[in-house]
């Protein structure tokens, strides 16, 4: 028994993790269904606003578990290098900070910082190309959007 569990864990990777996350979130969704979906019962109806989400969430749980079982025979996609994940999380974090401050610092500055950090993390080390090029593109896009497409950017 212990051997089979350890074999299963050895084969597990990103896909198994995603199946698990989906199953857990769908389970949480089912638990939250009554609080997150209000139903005003004007005459009892089985086909209210909770009817369809309930079916979809149950199906997600069932299929995620079936996927998990089907995967036990195969090797999963490996989680990958820590450095790769760190680069992705760094840019996601940077975009989140830029979005948080965008209403006060504006689209031009926020998008320039995001693009510049992305270029640097992607391996650009020439200052003209990781500062100058993103600044130029951010300026072109911002002014093009504001004056050409009349989009009221922050």
């Amino acid at each position: 028994m212990n051997l089979s569990i350890s074999k299963l864990l050895a084969k597990s990777g990103l896909q198994s993790l995603i199946f698990l996350i989906l199953a857990v979130f769908a389970g949480l969704g089912l638990c939250l269904l009554d609080t997150q979906v209000q139903v005003f019962s004007f005459g009892d109806s089985l086909f209210d606003a909770r009817f369809f989400p309930r079916i979809v969430l149950v199906l997600i749980i069932v299929i995620a578990l079936l996927c998990c079982i089907a995967r036990t025979r195969k090797m999963d996609e490996p989680i990958g290098s820590l450095a790769g994940w760190a680069r992705v999380f760094l840019v996601v974090g940077m975009i989140s900070i830029a979005l948080w401050f965008m209403p006060s610092v504006g689209f031009l500055l926020s998008s320039f910082v995001v693009a510049s950090v992305t270029a640097f993390i992607l391996g650009e080390r020439d200052i003209k190309l990781y500062v100058g090029l993103p600044l130029l593109i951010a300026a072109l896009v911002t002014f093009g959007a504001q004056y050409g497409l009349t989009i009221p950017l922050p």
Partner: protein, 499 residues
Amino acid sequence: MLLDAFNALMDIWVLVAAIVGIVTGIIIGAIPGLGPTMAIALLIPVTFTMPPIPAITLLLGVYQGAIFGGSISAILLNVPGTPSSAATAIDGHAMAKRGEGGRALRIALYASVAGNIFSCFVLIVLAEPLASMALNFGPAEMAALMFFALLVIVLFGGGVRLDAALMVLLGVFAGIVGLDPIEGTPRFTFDSFAMENGLQLIPVLVGLFAMSEVFLKLFERRSANQGDMDIPEILPSKVRFIDMWRMRATLLWSSLIGTFVGILPGIGSTVPAFMSYSLARARSKQPNKFGEGADEGVAAPEAANNAVTGGALIPTLALGIPGDAVTAVILGAFMLQGLAPGPFLFRDYGIEVYAIFEALILSSIPTIIFGLLLFKIAVHVIRIQPRHLFPTITILALLGAFSVNNSLVDVWVMLGAGFVGFLLRRSGFPLPPLLIGLILGTPLEQSVRQALLTSNGNLDIFWNSHIALSIIALTAICIVISVAISVFKNKRHQGSSDV
């Protein structure tokens, strides 16, 4: 109607839009990793202030151009710019290695145009009658049809069926967030007023197809320069009309396959490209030349993958059911222009729709002109480094998401969709079923509930309608065919492993 639509095309901005779209498409399509889906999703904000005909012409021009652009890197570098160009790479790259890259690209271009024109004529002939028929559909028929479309994606979309089913359900659930389509009560909004609009299609699209590509590139960062790639010398060459005429049967069969496989939801253009390649090889008098640089080995997949354009637009425009990820994005663009795809589109906006069809046919002329002019320039575009390209895509993704409703909430949604898309692509899950699930989820729920509410929960409403019953029978046939294909493949696999 066709004449009125032609008159509507007589606008310089339509021509400008077609040219800009085609040129942008060829350049973007040539860059490996940037497909037409991402290109169209990022360009949608540019079309907000444009009238519907030039706006959609521009986006369809990008689609046409990107499919041909994808064959440039496939032929010259053996790196398909789009997945559907993988079949073109087999013989195209073999030709390029002996200096016939120019000839291969010309054949690819002419075959692309032939496939596109054929499928557009089929689109013009079939779309309106299909839409007129769908006007008679009630909730039960629509529910059966949408269920059929989602099932076809799961069964025949390629890849692991359980994974595809999970992605469809995830998409359908994403569509549930927001106001209930019948009672109007908020669902899974966590008391956020902004979330009552639900997850908007364009920010989710931009996240799934553009932002996730940036994250993937960050994850897989490689130190090697793309400029170091060895591009074979392109010797002067010519392709005469008679050379293409000799391949007329191949072009016709490939266009037929592309168009009719394109009509089926979720299959995309890769499968018909390989089907056409196999058929051309089977029909050829010299099948041994395939793989070593046969003209028909380039023409067949290119005609097929371009013919998918018109085919996939038939269910998208007539029924509101997108055929693949690209047509799902185009469907989003139609909706933003106020032209809601579905049975009423042809009745309410017939002139605009036929003008777009005609523009799609006529844009074959600039496609040939700019395709011939640009393929030598596109060779240099292939050398653009990801570290210069992807920061620009990030800025455009931020703008694209914001510009839909001028709301930062949509940018957060785009970022979330981008990260989810990255996780799913990294794990090998297909994204088109998720996207089509998101688009069809709400109308499916609405139709199912309306049908059940009107029949007081009696399922007879599905059996008593001839149309719904026919669609259910077709669904059952698809399940049987899919199971039979699996059994056949397993037996063949076992047979080959026994040998």
